[in-house]
């Protein structure tokens, strides 16, 4: 899950957002207009849910969310096919 929040941070920063980590370990998301929008706790009790909350909040504040690239779509298809094949063993 740490990888997922890091991926979100990298994406947000690539779109002009700024993410700061404060002394308590909160990752604080700032929109391109400079406004502090939301924070992600250092040790959330439900990391997946918190991540989705941050995704929802940043998207509602204007962070674009692109379709996966064709390379990512190919990788997803390969992963799903692999999972299906391993399920038949």
């Amino acid at each position: 899950m740490a990888e997922d929040i890091d991926k979100l941070i990298r994406w947000a920063e690539s779109q002009g957002w700024r993410v700061e980590i404060d002394n308590n370990g909160y990752r604080r998301f700032f929109a391109p207009d400079g406004e502090y929008v939301v924070r992600y706790p250092a040790t959330p009790s439900n990391p997946r849910r918190r991540l989705l909350d941050v995704v929802t909040a940043t998207r509602r504040y204007g962070l674009p969310w692109p379709a996966p690239s064709r390379a990512e779509q190919r990788a997803d298809r390969r992963r799903i096919a692999k999972e299906e094949n391993s399920g038949h063993d």
Binding site: R39, R49, D53, V55, R60, P64, W65, P66, A67
Partner: protein, 167 residues
């Protein structure tokens, strides 16, 4: 069948835009209840929570919590919206693209199995070829969905067009 979990978001408007320290104070209160608090575009804040049980009762509780927390930090807040959906639907919505997949002429050529030149020709001559969604330095951009739709309705004819169609 397991208990359904509901993703609830409650939106509040405030008399003046929340300061960063007010948002942090609300977030501190939210953390005690595992509720995420975020700034809304245009002012105010949104509370995000996931709960099991009766969704309307859960939404009502979250509205009351938001009003109570706003009062605790001396902010006048007015509820302006509530959204309730299953947590599965909320996750699907959160991760759905907000920007459509785009295709350049080269991508469209790849999707249609033709050359780039043919794509430009089709875009000028075929009455049902999709209109571009944008024009950038490399040329027009279409949505992948529109190109795939065109591929599904396009009746390809190989060879030269008949002489009667050549001016």
């Amino acid at each position: 069948m397991g208990t359904t979990e509901w993703a609830i978001s409650v939106e509040f408007d405030t008399e003046s835009a929340l300061t960063a320290s007010q948002l942090d104070a609300l977030s501190d209160l939210g953390d005690l209840e595992n509720v995420t608090v975020a700034r809304r575009g245009g002012g105010g804040c949104t509370l995000l929570d996931t709960r099991a049980g009766d969704p309307l009762q859960a939404a009502e509780e979250l509205v009351q919590l938001g009003a109570k927390w706003a009062a605790e930090i001396d902010v006048r807040a007015y509820m302006v919206g509530v959204r309730v959906m299953t947590s599965e639907q909320a996750e699907a919505d959160a991760l759905a693209p907000s920007v459509p997949a785009l295709a350049s002429a080269a991508d469209a050529a790849d999707l249609l199995g033709v050359s780039r030149q043919r794509v430009h020709q089709l875009s000028k001559q075929h009455p049902r070829f999709p209109a571009p969604i944008a024009h950038v330095a490399i040329g027009p951009l279409w949505t992948v969905d529109a190109i795939q739709w065109f591929a599904s309705i396009w009746e390809r004819r190989s060879g030269r067009p008949p002489k009667s169609r050549i001016a």
